[in-house]
Symmetry: C2
Subunit: 229 residues, 2 copies
């Protein structure tokens, strides 16, 4: 019992809201808890921050340990510090949100966690702790962010069709978009590169595949360009 302080100290955790896009819907990755409190409840992946790692590193590590995910888009979201958000003791949680390509990763592999699964982001079961609130904050952030930062591409395969991209925006923004206007606007940005490939059709016309030109976007950004879909 070597660590002693004059005043009580809150424990520090990170929790990750991991979004994926699949079957035309925005999904979130949840872990079924194997311990009390909230035994068997679904919760966001996360855990304690170690004394020798930064917050970002802790988020990446937990993601890796609990879901097997690596090389994902990760961004700090908000810090939740209500006094009784954890019934055991005071726990401060730094929440992150992550975007992953469903195609790149095992759907729900895990080492630590008893169980992991994808749920539609707006149709989750009752969550442990204040995780419903965290999820809501993440959804708000994603919806706000996708309109002025090209983060949507993190949710799609590296090669994607314009219809897939449009479906993604429709799912996240929650409204339908006009196909011709959407294509016109996206192509006018000149940030999509048409590949010399098409989808291999399943009883329909093959679609042009594109990739997002990250390098070009970054160089434009430095010149003050703002994405603004």
């Amino acid at each position: 019992m070597p660590f002693t302080y004059l005043y009580p100290r809150a424990a520090l955790t990170v929790d990750c809201v991991v979004f994926g896009f699949d079957e035309g819907a925005l999904k979130v990755l949840l872990i079924r808890r194997g311990i009390e409190p909230f035994l068997n409840r679904w919760a966001l992946p996360g855990g304690f921050v170690r004394p020798d790692e930064t917050l970002d590193a802790a988020a990446l590590r937990e993601l890796q340990e609990e879901t097997g995910l690596r090389e994902v888009y990760l961004e700090q979201l908000y810090t939740f510090g209500e006094i009784h958000r954890d019934p055991r003791e005071r726990v401060i949680s730094v929440a992150y949100f992550a975007l992953v390509r469903r195609t790149d990763h095992v759907p729900a592999a895990s080492t630590d966690a008893a169980d992991a699964a994808w749920f539609e982001a707006e149709k989750t079961p009752t969550l442990a702790f204040d995780h419903a609130e965290i999820l809501k904050a993440a959804l708000d952030r994603l919806r706000g962010k996708i309109r002025w930062q090209p983060v949507g591409f993190e949710l799609l395969p590296k090669k994607f069709t314009l219809s897939q991209l449009q479906g993604l925006y429709e799912a996240i923004l929650g409204r339908e978009l006009d196909k011709r206007n959407f294509r016109k606007k996206l192509l006018a940005l000149d940030l999509l590169v048409a590949l010399e490939e098409t989808t291999t059709a399943a009883s329909r016309r093959p679609a042009q595949l594109f990739r997002f030109d990250q390098r070009k976007y970054q160089s434009l950004t430095r010149k003050g360009f703002i994405f603004d879909l």
Copy 2:
């Protein structure tokens, strides 16, 4: 020495970036440190979170104690957790940013702090800890936020002229705006109420005073309205 844990725990602080607007420039409120480390360096107001208060409450309390400020616009900004950001031990800081009306408050009253003063936000002296980084994050947030949320009014007197408002936007966005277009757009939003008052002139034409209609804005917001200057 009653509080003992199996693993070391980081200390938890809040730091506040307090912005004000004065003399046509964006200012930030700094405190001169009275103790080591960084003795006599300028730093953001802040301090330790108590075991029985939320993060928001801690930020409000520190603001009150160190600067005498009350009833300010306050919003959580970002949490800084680099391992050696405090040379003494591991300290996690939840940063807040605050907007205050210079006219409402004592310029630099303080109880706790040795000394407090306003500096131009982009011309501060060298700051303690990683506070320069925190300040930069706050500036970025403010510049992003002011364009799509009516937070600028928190920095002006409750009664203000359109020229003052324009000057504020110009100072924060760092570019000049066209007077006629600015006025047209702001008035078209129909969120400014013309008061039956004007400035009492100092050798020039008196200007119409306005106030921001917070109630109307909130009711529009609920209907999906987005400010977007």
